[in-house]
C-alpha cells in the first residue's frame, strides 16, 4: 500500500474531533502502517486552515486535498484512504 498523509483539522472543545481521531487511528491499523496522521489545531495554525479553506472542524485533508468537513462515515473515510493509496502520481 502506497503512503498517505492525512491532516486532521481540529480545535480544542470540538465535539466531533475525537471521533474522527479514533476513526483514523483504527483505520490506520486496519489498512497498514503507511498512513501518517497529523493533527492540525486550527486555533494555532490558522494559516494552514485558511489555505485549505477549512471553515469548520473536524475536517480531513488527504495528501493535500480537503476531502471531508464534518464527521464522515467510517466507510466513506476508508474508501477515500484506499483510493488515495492506490493513486500513483
Amino acid at each position: 500500500m502506497a503512503e498517505v498523509y492525512v491532516e486532521e483539522f481540529m480545535s480544542p472543545g470540538c465535539v466531533g474531533c475525537p471521533i474522527v481521531k479514533e476513526m483514523l487511528k483504527s483505520l490506520s491499523e486496519e489498512l497498514g502502517g503507511e498512513i501518517t496522521v497529523e493533527e492540525v489545531d486550527i486555533t494555532v495554525d490558522t494559516t494552514r486552515a485558511a489555505q485549505y479553506g477549512v471553515m469548520s472542524v473536524p475536517a480531513i485533508a488527504i495528501n493535500g486535498e480537503l476531502k471531508f468537513m464534518g464527521v464522515p462515515k467510517k466507510e466513506e473515510l476508508k474508501k477515500a484512504l484506499m483510493e488515495e493509496s492506490k493513486k500513483d502520481e
Binding site: E3, T46, T47, S56
Partner: protein, 594 residues
C-alpha cells in the same frame, strides 16, 4: 519547461533568523538529520531566509538542483508563508508546494514556547520530517475563480461600524449596516464629552450618523440582528432578522406626541443607564438616527394587557402599527465587517465596592449620563439617594480590570475617562467639590494624553496611589467610607465621600460568542474577536473576507477604533475591487452543496 517525473525533489532551507533560531538550536545537526529524509535532495542554511539575499539563495538552489518543492524552517507561517510562496512562484512552483514551518517558537528568547537546545533540536527534527513527508505526498489544492459581490455587511452601528460603512459607501460599495438597537451611534452617543479635546461626543458623532442615514449606498437596518451566515468571501449569504418597531418608519415624523400620551414608565437602562425612566414607546435620545419611535412590547400595556392604544390615537401620522411582524431579510455580500463594540463590566460581582447595595455607588458610564446636559438630570450632578449635589467624589480605577479574579487585561480607556470626568466636574459642574482618583497606575499613552493628565493634576484633583479594599456605607447619611493606603506617601487614608464612581472594565459585547460561532471566527482568551496577527494583521480574522474593528477586537479609545475601522474597510476594498478571486475548490463546492 514541462517536467515529467515521479520523484519529488524537495529543498529544505533552515533560517538562522540572526540568533533567534541559531542561538537556540544546533543548526549543523539539523542540516545533517534533514539530509537523510526521503525526497530531500538539497539542504541549506541562511542567515535570514526572508531577506533579499536569502530569497535569491533559495531561487538559485531551486534552479541548480531542479527542486520542485520547498520547505523553509523558520518562523510563524502567518508572518512569511506568502513571502516564500511568492519567491517559489517566480520559478513556477505552485504555492501549495511551498511550506513554512515554525521552529523559532522553541528557540527565540522571550517566546512562550522556548525550550532547551536539545529539546529544540528534537522538536525541530520532528516537524521538519513531518513537513517533508507532507510535501512529498501533497498535490495541488484545486482552485476555482469566483465573482465578487461588490457589497459589504457591517455588523454594529457604533463609531467603528459607522466609519467603516461610510468609507466603503464613499468608495462605491453597497453597504448594509446592521444594528441591534433601534438607533445607531453606539456607546459614543452616551459619553457626553470625549478626551483629550473635551469635545461634545454627540456633536462629533452626529455628522457620521446623519451622513450614514442619508448616504445613497448605505442600507440602514436598525433593531436588527444577523441570524445566519453562509458562503465565502466574495459571496456571503447573510440572514438578518429585523425586530418590529410597531411604528411605520416611513410615516413616523419623530414628533414625540405618542411618547407624551404613553402611560407606561420603565427604567431606561440603555440610554440613561438606569438613572431615569422612559416610556414604553420612546425615541432613544434627541439626536437618535433614525429619529423614529419604537415600542418596547415587553412593557407596553397593549401588548401585555390588551388595552390602551393611546399612542395610536395620539399619532397624527397614523404611524403606529401593532400588527408589525419580525422581518427576515436576506443579503448577498462580498465581505463582512464586525464592529460590535463592548459592554461595561457589571461591578455587582465586586461585592467589596457595594455597587447595587449602596445607592451612591455608580459607574463611570452612569456618571457620564449625569454630567450630560442632555442626560437624565440635564447636566446637574445629583447623587442618586437624595438628589443632592455631592461635595466629594471618589473614583476607583481598575474595577474588573487588571484583576486576576475578574479580567486580567487593562481596559486601556478607564484612566482617561476618569480624568475627563474629573476635569468636567472641576471645570463645569462643581469646582469646589473634592475629587479623588484612587489608582494603581495612570496609563495615558495616546497623543496628547499625558498633557491631559498633567492638566487634571493642576486642577487640584487628588490622586491616591492605591486601591481601596472596601467601601462601607454610612447608614444615616448614605455617605461612603473608603480606607485606602496611598503608597506615594505611605499612609493609610480614611475618606468619607458623597459619591463613589467605579471605573469598570471594558468587556466583549453581549452576543459576541454567538456571533463568533455564526461567523466561524476565533475569539481570544478574553472573549474579544481574535485578529490573525496581533501586530501585522490586526483587523483580519481566520476567515478570509471577515474583518474586525473597534472595541470588538479589544478595549480601545475612539481614535484607535476609527483607525481600525478604516483599516478593515481598506482590507475589504482590497479584496472586493478585484472583481473576481481564486478560492480553494472545496470551499465553493461545500457552499454549493449547502
Amino acid at each position: 519547461m514541462v517536467r515529467e517525473k515521479k520523484e519529488k525533489r524537495i529543498g529544505i532551507f533552515i533560517c538562522h533568523c540572526g540568533k533567534n533560531v541559531a542561538g537556540g538550536v544546533d543548526i549543523k545537526a539539523l542540516i545533517e538529520s534533514s539530509r537523510g529524509l526521503e525526497g530531500v535532495v538539497f539542504v541549506e542554511d541562511n542567515k535570514f531566509s526572508c531577506s533579499e539575499e536569502g530569497q535569491i539563495a533559495i531561487q538559485d538552489a531551486v534552479k541548480n538542483n531542479d527542486l520542485d518543492r520547498i520547505v523553509v524552517a523558520a518562523c510563524d507561517p502567518g508572518l512569511h508563508l506568502l513571502t516564500f510562496q511568492r519567491c517559489g512562484q517566480k520559478l513556477g512552483i505552485d504555492p501549495a508546494f511551498v511550506d513554512l514551518i515554525d521552529i523559532r517558537k522553541w528557540t527565540m528568547f522571550g517566546s512562550p514556547n522556548k525550550v532547551d537546545e536539545k529539546q529544540a533540536l528534537d522538536n525541530s527534527e520532528r516537524i521538519i520530517e513531518q513537513a517533508v513527508k507532507r510535501m512529498r505526498l501533497k498535490r495541488i489544492i484545486p482552485k476555482v475563480t469566483v465573482k465578487v459581490n461588490p457589497s459589504v455587511v457591517v455588523i454594529g452601528g457604533g463609531v467603528a461600524g459607522l466609519e467603516a460603512s461610510l468609507d466603503l459607501a464613499d468608495k462605491g460599495y453597497r453597504v448594509h449596516l446592521v444594528e441591534r438597537l433601534p438607533t445607531i451611534g453606539g456607546k459614543m452617543a452616551l459619553l457626553y464629552k470625549v478626551f483629550p479635546t473635551n469635545d461634545c461626543a454627540p456633536c462629533i458623532l452626529a455628522p457620521k450618523t446623519a451622513y450614514a442615514n442619508i448616504h445613497p449606498n448605505i442600507n440602514l437596518l436598525t433593531h436588527s440582528e444577523v441570524t445566519n451566515v453562509e458562503g465565502h468571501i466574495g459571496n456571503f449569504g447573510i440572514v438578518v432578522n429585523q425586530n418590529p418597531r410597531y411604528v411605520d418608519e416611513k410615516k413616523c415624523t419623530g414628533c414625540g406626541l405618542c411618547i407624551e400620551k404613553c402611560p407606561a414608565r420603565v427604567a431606561d437602562n440603555e440610554y440613561s443607564r438606569g438613572l431615569s425612566d422612559r416610556k414604553a414607546i420612546y425615541i432613544p435620545y434627541d439626536q437618535a438616527i433614525p429619529r423614529k419611535a419604537v415600542i418596547d412590547n415587553q412593557n407596553c400595556l397593549y401588548f401585555q394587557k390588551g388595552s390602551c392604544r393611546l399612542c395610536e390615537k395620539a399619532c397624527p401620522a397614523s404611524a403606529i402599527d401593532f400588527k408589525q411582524e419580525p422581518k427576515t431579510i436576506e443579503l448577498k455580500v462580498g465581505a463582512i465587517i464586525v464592529a460590535t463594540g463592548f459592554d461595561e463590566y457589571n461591578p455587582v460581582r465586586k461585592t467589596e465596592y457595594g455597587y447595587g447595595r449602596y445607592g451612591n455607588v455608580i459607574t463611570q458610564f452612569q456618571l457620564a449620563r449625569l454630567l450630560d446636559i442632555d442626560g437624565p438630570t440635564r447636566g446637574r450632578l445629583l447623587r442618586p439617594t437624595d438628589k443632592k449635589e455631592p461635595r466629594s467624589i471618589a473614583m476607583i480605577q481598575c474595577v474588573g480590570s487588571r484583576d486576576e479574579n475578574a479580567n486580567g487585561y487593562c481596559s486601556s480607556v478607564c484612566c482617561m475617562y476618569a480624568l475627563k470626568h474629573a476635569q468636567i466636574i472641576k471645570e463645569m459642574v462643581s469646582p469646589d467639590a473634592q475629587v479623588y482618583i484612587s489608582y494603581i497606575d495612570m496609563r495615558t499613552t495616546g497623543k496628547g494624553f499625558e498633557e491631559y493628565y498633567k492638566r487634571t493634576r493642576e486642577m487640584a484633583v487628588n490622586f491616591i496611589h492605591g486601591r481601596p479594599g472596601e467601601v462601607i456605607e454610612n447608614n444615616e447619611t448614605k455617605n461612603l467610607i473608603l480606607k485606602v493606603e496611598d503608597s506615594d506617601i505611605g499612609e493609610l487614608l480614611r475618606l468619607e465621600v458623597d459619591l463613589v464612581v467605579l471605573s469598570c472594565a471594558t468587556i466583549p459585547a453581549k452576543g459576541t460568542k454567538q456571533l463568533a460561532e455564526l461567523l466561524r471566527i476565533n475569539l481570544d482568551e478574553n472573549g474579544f474577536f481574535r485578529e490573525i496577527h496581533p501586530k501585522l494583521r490586526p483587523v483580519e480574522t481566520n476567515r478570509r473576507g471577515v474583518y474586525i474593528c473597534g472595541s470588538a477586537q479589544g478595549p480601545k479609545d475612539i481614535p484607535d477604533s476609527i483607525v481600525q475601522a478604516k483599516a478593515a474597510a481598506s482590507c475589504a476594498d482590497s479584496e472586493l475591487r478585484k472583481g473576481e478571486i481564486q478560492l480553494p475548490e472545496s470551499i465553493v463546492k461545500k457552499e454549493k452543496a449547502n
